[in-house]
Symmetry: C2
């Protein structure tokens, strides 16, 4: 015995969300049906609208319901700096620092041959033609410091090496602010030591 | 700066789900938009359908898209036994034990004056008229063993006391199977001691 068919279907559908198992899906279904039908109605409607309308920015590939996203469309941003990130969420993180005034390119993932994600899936051909246009002078590789992220950064660095007047840079590796030395992992500490800078 | 308007709306809408904060909502939105549009489409559709169609069983008050739920409609179930539970999920738990062949009444909550939940909100008037019909001989109070659950059970027990030929019972309190004595809380252990039974 279980719930009525429609409730069972709803519980199954909630499991499409990441990190949602059976118990959580059940709690979500009952919460919405018992206490927040209005919220559920809005979620259903916005979800359908977002799925129908959100695509990728035709310039930087970020998720966006417009043809060109607001950053690509902003003439005040420095077009000679291109920051390559893995996901749209990374753009938000970098924008929140207020330290970057260039433009972005979103890979929507990282190289992962085992999952069938190669250069084409990440739009490397678009990135290459962007770099070949001659406007960009620096490409900042802001992929993750995981094995896949490093491999992806290396791939793009190699691509940039073949093009004239483009410098490829990588985010600095080292101790995080507020980090305690004894809790830092060995690899990061080794990198921080190797790349130590002079105190002025 | 943040995401495009529709993506921001989607992230906000996911926060209507219980236990979903900003980071989780963001992860859900990107997962659906990047990797599982089909799942998202199904979720939107089933959610809208469930909100439109699921109501309460007119007999036992459980969540159900039918007028009368399948348990209430089953003539093989013993109509003289009524098990009172707090939520539809409790019915599933009890059904899974295979130890109960009676019918249910779902309060859809527990008495909680501070949240404005009194006897009417829990449908106590329907429960009273059910008990007055004369079919039911035993009402099993299967509410939680929290303060609110105990209060709710006490309220129903008092109601049953005034009616002829109805026994109110409560689920046994004691050690859980596989429980270790040293890890048991004091109140449960005290109840288990007081209600000890003779070994035959």
């Amino acid at each position: 015995m279980s719930f009525s068919p429609l409730i069972n279907q709803l519980i199954s559908a909630f499991k499409y969300l990441p990190g949602v198992g059976n118990k959580t899906a059940q709690r979500m279904a009952f919460h919405i049906l018992q206490r927040n039908k209005e919220g559920g109605r809005q979620l259903a409607q916005i979800l359908a609208a977002a799925i129908a309308e959100v695509g990728n920015c035709s310039n930087c590939r970020t998720l966006c319901e417009l043809e060109i996203c607001s950053i690509c469309n902003n003439p005040a941003r420095d077009a000679s700096l291109l920051c390559v990130v893995e996901t749209p969420a990374d753009i938000v993180s970098i924008e929140q620092t207020g330290s970057f005034r260039g433009k972005y390119f979103v890979l929507m993932g990282h190289l992962s041959p085992i999952d069938g994600i190669g250069p084409e899936q990440l739009g490397m051909q678009y990135l290459r033609s962007k770099l070949q246009q001659g406007t960009i002078t620096e490409v900042i590789l802001a992929t993750s410091t995981t094995v896949e992220g490093e491999t992806t950064a290396y791939y793009i660095a190699e691509m940039a090496k073949g093009l004239p007047n483009i410098t490829a840079t990588r985010l600095a590796l080292g101790m995080p602010l507020g980090g305690e030395l004894e809790h830092l992992d060995h690899s990061t500490l080794a990198r921080a030591l190797n790349q130590r800078s002079k105190v002025v």
